[in-house]
């Protein structure tokens, strides 16, 4: 395993090295040097990740997990003998898959940024932070225990904060970064509580220990959790839900979803990496990582399913009406994350599990990463040309940006679930899992959403690339596609197309949760008709989109203008267009309740009571200081007197046995 060890070090520490070097030395001097450092660091990391994956999957260890290195970081011996915060490197099919995806995408995004950030003065800082982001995500992925996961989880949070607010001179970017950070931190506080609770009950942070638990011994023992005394089994269920809340916020599930669309304020490469490989999939990854543990906790998986399924439909509906192309993609990500989430949730059928959902979910993480990254990069290229995010100003770009056009088509077919593109396979698996899990409502919603997905993606596609150009920047100008920006898009089109049927077998063979302590359902109903139903939905949705946005009748400028004008729509459309007023609700809640209510009370207590006490203490201490100074008047008789006074003082107050 010596090679593997070397790879693991390279994977983890090269991005860190790139961050340190770029952040401290190179970044300020030369943006080109910083870019080269970022690309080389992440590129070697990607190669190592692929080699590690190959050597792991072909070894006889797979699909068992292996720990390449692990050292104790913070032992908590006082609480339990095994409770130790370790930093390690876990290798199993899930983490290997994520390593490949994260490093690969990160490398491409680094390359893309060369073009995208070419005219930005602080490109060096950008490349440094991008590497930090990658490093954090990699550390999270290879975590061997909850403790390490949490450390890197927070690192992911802080690096996303710095990247979303990268253009800190824009107030909207600053508020978006704050929103993302505060919301995810809010969720993380529950995560931390969950970690404390679970590790206290179990006596270990280690994933292998926690996943290998069986509930039986915990029903008898009780534990005091502060407000009530409950059985340890209930405490574990509570802990599992709390841990999930961490993933809930990080993966931006409803109702903590609002930060994700607003995070579009960051540079597009950042959106691309956040949405495809890092940050948001961390929540799904967390659930997948602890899947056996969640499976034994009574209703946790059902909760996950409900949250995921609702977010999926909710976000897809909103995506159908948006006009900001990055926001469309953001809601699309939310919807896809919903797929991944509920796919993990549907595994549970009463008291048994069917693991197809787990396989499907991890598979979807894999395929989604490529086409979503590609779509964001395409959106970035388009924005770079048109200088706006607004669909109003686009159209007719297809002929001017042929490479981008065709790659976009591939990615959109992939996300729509059209065979043989990658998304078809993973989405089909998810639908199948929902059906086999006997969650028919969720299944129906998922089918419907796949139709919606096709609709809004083709709306996106037609309005950008087809019809007449609606932008002065484009009309009559010749557009040159930037090589550094087009290359990653083209490279990504390949896995967006192929990764589905290439990797299907691998996932079916390897991606199964290890050490399940709960009976598995083996004989699952077959449903050969699902792919046809899904394709049918896609075809219907495609036709609708074409009718609305690309048919000769719809592309007449006057008609187009009417289509794009959201002000003359019915109430429901406006409601959806306004994202169900969730931003406003949050705004009102924060303004009226927190700022004007809670914060004001706290402020009052702070200003008048605490400050008052502090001011009094300060005043009092200063008066005492004056007294000491006053006594030090320089008069020798008084000084000599103090000797006698002291003697008498200690005679009476020294508690001597005299």
């Amino acid at each position: 395993m010596t090679n593997e060890l070397l790879f693991s070090y390279l994977i983890l520490f090269l991005p860190l090295l790139a961050f340190v070097v770029n952040g401290l030395f190179l970044g300020q001097k030369s943006a080109k040097g910083a870019a080269a450092m970022g690309i080389i660091g992440n590129g070697i990391g990607a190669i190592s990740a692929v080699l590690l994956a190959v050597s792991y999957l072909t070894s006889n260890v797979a699909p068992q997990k292996a720990v390449l290195f692990e050292f104790s970081f913070l032992p908590f011996k006082a609480i339990s003998e095994n409770l130790s915060g370790n930093i390690g490197f876990l290798v199993d099919p899930l983490s290997v898959m994520m390593l490949v995806v994260v490093t690969f995408i990160s490398t491409l995004v680094n390359i893309y940024s060369v073009g995208y950030m070419r005219h930005d003065r602080s490109a060096g800082r950008f490349f440094a932070l991008l590497s930090l982001f990658t490093f954090s995500m990699l550390g999270l992925v290879v975590a061997t225990n909850l403790f390490q996961m949490f450390i890197f989880w927070e690192l992911v949070g802080i690096s996303s904060y710095m990247l979303i607010g990268f253009w800190y001179h824009k107030p909207s970017a600053v508020s978006a970064s704050k929103q993302a950070f505060i919301l995810t931190r809010f969720a993380d506080s529950f995560f931390l509580m969950g970690i404390v609770l679970v590790s206290y009950v179990v006596g270990s942070f280690d994933f292998s220990t926690i996943n290998a638990l069986s509930m039986a011994p915990f029903y008898q023992e009780t534990i005091n959790i502060g407000i009530a005394t409950v059985s340890k089994a209930s405490a574990l269920v509570l802990g599992s839900i709390l841990i999930f809340v961490g993933g809930w916020g990080k993966s931006a599930m409803f109702p903590m979803h609002i930060w994700l669309p607003n995070a579009m304020e960051g540079p597009t490469p950042v959106s691309s990496i956040i949405h495809s490989a890092t940050m948001v999939v961390a929540g799904v990854y967390l659930v997948a990582r602890l899947f056996p543990f969640f499976a034994i906790c009574e209703n946790t998986l059902n909760l996950i399913m409900v949250v995921g399924a609702f977010t999926m439909v909710f976000a897809a509906v909103i995506a159908c009406t948006q006009k900001d192309i990055k926001r469309i993609l953001a809601y699309s990500t939310l919807s896809q994350l919903g797929y991944m989430m509920f796919s993990l949730g549907v595994c549970k059928i009463d008291s048994v599990v069917a693991v197809t959902g787990y396989t499907a979910s991890t598979f979807h993480i894999f395929t989604h990463a490529f086409f979503k990254c590609s779509l964001f990069l395409i959106a970035g290229s388009v924005i770079h040309v048109v200088h706006t995010n607004d669909l109003d100003k686009m159209g007719g770009l297809g002929a001017k940006m042929p490479w981008t056009y065709w790659c976009a088509l591939i990615s959109i077919l992939a996300i729509s679930g059209v065979p043989p593109f990658s998304g078809f396979f993973s989405k089909d698996e998810i639908l199948l899992a929902a059906f086999q899990g006997q969650h028919y409502i969720v299944f129906a919603l998922a089918l419907l959403t796949s139709g919606l997905t096709t609709f809004y993606m083709f709306r996106f596609f037609f309005l950008i690339f087809h019809g007449d150009s609606r932008s002065e920047h484009v009309r009559g100008h010749k557009i040159k596609e930037d090589f550094a920006m087009t290359l990653p898009i083209v490279v990504l089109a390949l896995p967006a197309f192929l990764s589905g049927f290439m990797a299907k077998g691998l996932f079916a063979k390897f991606s199964v949760p290890s050490s399940l302590n709960i009976p598995q359902l083996v004989s699952l109903p077959e449903a050969k008709w699902i792919p046809f139903a899904a394709i049918g939905m896609a075809v219907v949705a495609f036709c609708t989109a074409w009718l609305f946005y690309a048919s000769p009748k719809a592309t007449i400028p006057a008609k187009m203008q009417q289509t794009l004008d959201e002000t003359n729509r019915c109430g429901l459309y406006k409601l959806i267009y306004r994202k169900f007023y969730f931003d406003e609700m949050y705004y009102i809640f924060v303004r009226q309740f927190i700022f004007a209510g809670v914060a004001r009370v706290c402020r009052f207590v702070q200003d008048y009571i605490i400050e008052g006490i502090v001011a009094f203490v300060v005043w009092f201490v200063h008066r005492l200081g004056d007294l000491v100074r006053y006594a030090q008047g320089g008069s020798l008789p008084f000084y000599l007197g103090t000797l006698i006074i002291g003697l008498l003082l200690w005679r009476f107050f020294g508690q001597l046995p005299l």
């Binding site: 201490v621 005492l624 200081g625 006594a631 103090t642 000797l643 200690w650 001597l656 046995p657």
Partner: protein, 477 residues
């Protein structure tokens, strides 16, 4: 064997005569005495370091001169103080500073410091009251002379007068205490006194003697309310003398108390603890309060060192081994940080007045000096990871071991107060804008070297374990 161990003491005893005597044979401008002093002091320090620790009961020479581990380590503290003291003083013999004229007669000056150091050696070696008392006096009397060394400075003379008058009263207190102790136990020897104390621990004679001894030494250690001389003397004395006073004199006094409390009076340590705790608490409170509103640097350092004395007293409450090691460790760190501060003040005082206002703009004019000052202040305030934090930690740990949690908590709260005024000083150096143009600061090579060395020491002593290991693991009592 004995001879080699005794060699540093003998050398130090002969040393003042050599330095002063060398003046007879050379020109008064000659640097020869200065060189001899340097070589001699450093040689003694090296020889002290060669004495193996962990020697149990210690070695006796004749019958009333004892060398144990505490003694050896305290000797090292005294030597560090002496060496740094003469290095600091050297500049004051080359030019005037802080509005005072230049000093003269460096050979005699070094001789006086050597005598005081030898007195301190005697205190930690004594086995009977007479030697003990002699040591304390040898350590104190040169200090009176040193305070008035600048003959043309009236402030110095006034300070020395105050110092010697009050010091005499304090000495009378001590002698009175000793005489009662002798009357109580019928012997001058520590061993006999210890057994007498163990058998009859409630005798009024004993407690009167303890009261007077604490009051007498309280003067030297600047405990409340016997500290009143300190701000005036620190202010009036030449700056290097202030530095020596605040380290050597304080170290001697705390060594005196440690020898007494953990030696002959060990049997009544428990009954003495309320007195010690009260002395510690009041001293550190008053020291901190006094330092709050000072504007003169040396006066400020006086109050700072008063409060430091309060912190050190806490260690006397602990068990012998932990308490003594904490004291030794803290004295090393205190000496280093204190001298670092005084070196910086000295450099500033060369060109300006030694006040807070003179520090303004230091961070822009000479960032290295400002950093050294900040390191010294943060260490004195006890901010991790600097050495001062670990030193204070061990002091508090010693106090907490015997259950004096309230005192420790009180000391920690007081530390916040201390932080306030130490940071005031850093604020002057780093944030406040200077008024008018600043006179330039020039450092010679010796000053630069010493400031770098001391800064490294203050940072490193905390977590480089060789010293603390040496002290905490290496020696048994």
């Amino acid at each position: 064997m004995f001879e080699s161990i005794l060699l540093p003491d003998l050398l130090l005893l002969a040393f003042p005569f050599i330095v002063i005597g060398s003046r007879l044979f050379c020109d008064f401008r000659s640097a020869f005495p200065w060189r001899v002093a340097n070589i001699g002091f450093i040689l003694i320090f090296i020889m002290l370091n060669m004495i193996p620790l962990a020697s149990g009961e210690g070695h006796f020479f004749i019958f009333n001169w004892r060398l144990d581990d505490f003694g050896v380590l305290m000797r090292e503290v005294f030597m560090v103080s002496a060496i740094l003291g003469i290095w600091l003083s050297k500049d004051y013999f080359e030019h005037g500073a802080d509005g005072k004229p230049q000093m003269h007669q460096i050979a005699e000056y070094i001789g006086a410091i050597a005598f005081a150091t030898f007195g301190a050696f005697t205190v930690v070696s004594a086995c009977d009251l007479l030697t003990f008392f002699l040591g304390l006096e040898i350590a104190t009397i040169p200090m009176y002379a040193l305070t008035a060394w600048n003959k043309k400075d009236q402030m110095g003379s006034e300070a020395a007068t105050k110092y010697i008058l009050m010091g005499s009263v304090a000495t009378a207190f001590e002698l009175f205490g000793f005489s009662y102790l002798y009357g109580f136990s019928g012997s001058l020897f520590f061993n006999d006194i210890a057994s007498a104390v163990a058998t009859n621990s409630t005798s009024p004679l004993l407690w009167v003697s303890i009261l007077f001894l604490f009051s007498g030494i309280g003067f030297k250690l600047t405990l409340f309310p016997f500290y009143t001389w300190a701000p005036d003397v620190y202010e009036g004395a030449p700056t290097p003398v202030t530095a020596v006073l605040s380290v050597t004199s304080k170290a001697t006094a705390i060594a005196f108390l440690a020898v007494l409390v953990f030696g002959p009076l060990a049997a009544v340590q428990e009954q003495m603890s309320p007195l010690i705790a009260l002395l510690a608490a009041t001293t550190l409170l008053v020291g901190n309060l006094g330092a709050l509103k000072q504007t003169r640097l040396r006066r400020f350092m006086a109050y700072s060192s008063i409060s430091q004395a309060g912190y050190i007293m806490i260690a006397l409450l602990g068990p012998a081994e932990i308490g003594k090691s904490a004291i030794v460790y803290y004295m090393f760190i205190y000496a280093v940080a204190n001298y670092l501060a005084f070196f910086v003040f000295g450099i500033i005082g060369h060109h300006r007045e030694e006040t807070f206002a003179s520090l303004r703009g230091l961070s822009k004019q000479n960032p290295a000096l400002a950093i050294a000052l900040a390191i010294a202040m943060f260490s004195l305030a006890g901010i991790p990871p600097l050495a001062g934090f670990f030193g204070k930690f061990h002091l508090f740990f010693a106090g907490a071991t015997t259950g004096h949690y309230f005192l420790v908590a009180f000391a920690v709260i007081n530390n916040v107060l201390a932080l306030f005024y130490y940071i005031q000083l850093i604020k002057s150096a780093w944030i406040d804008e200077p008024e008018g143009t600043l006179s330039s600061l020039r450092l010679n090579r010796r000053q630069r070297l010493i400031i770098i060395m001391l800064s490294i020491a203050v940072v490193a002593l905390g977590f480089v374990p060789f010293l603390s290991n040496n002290i905490f693991a290496g020696f048994t009592f």
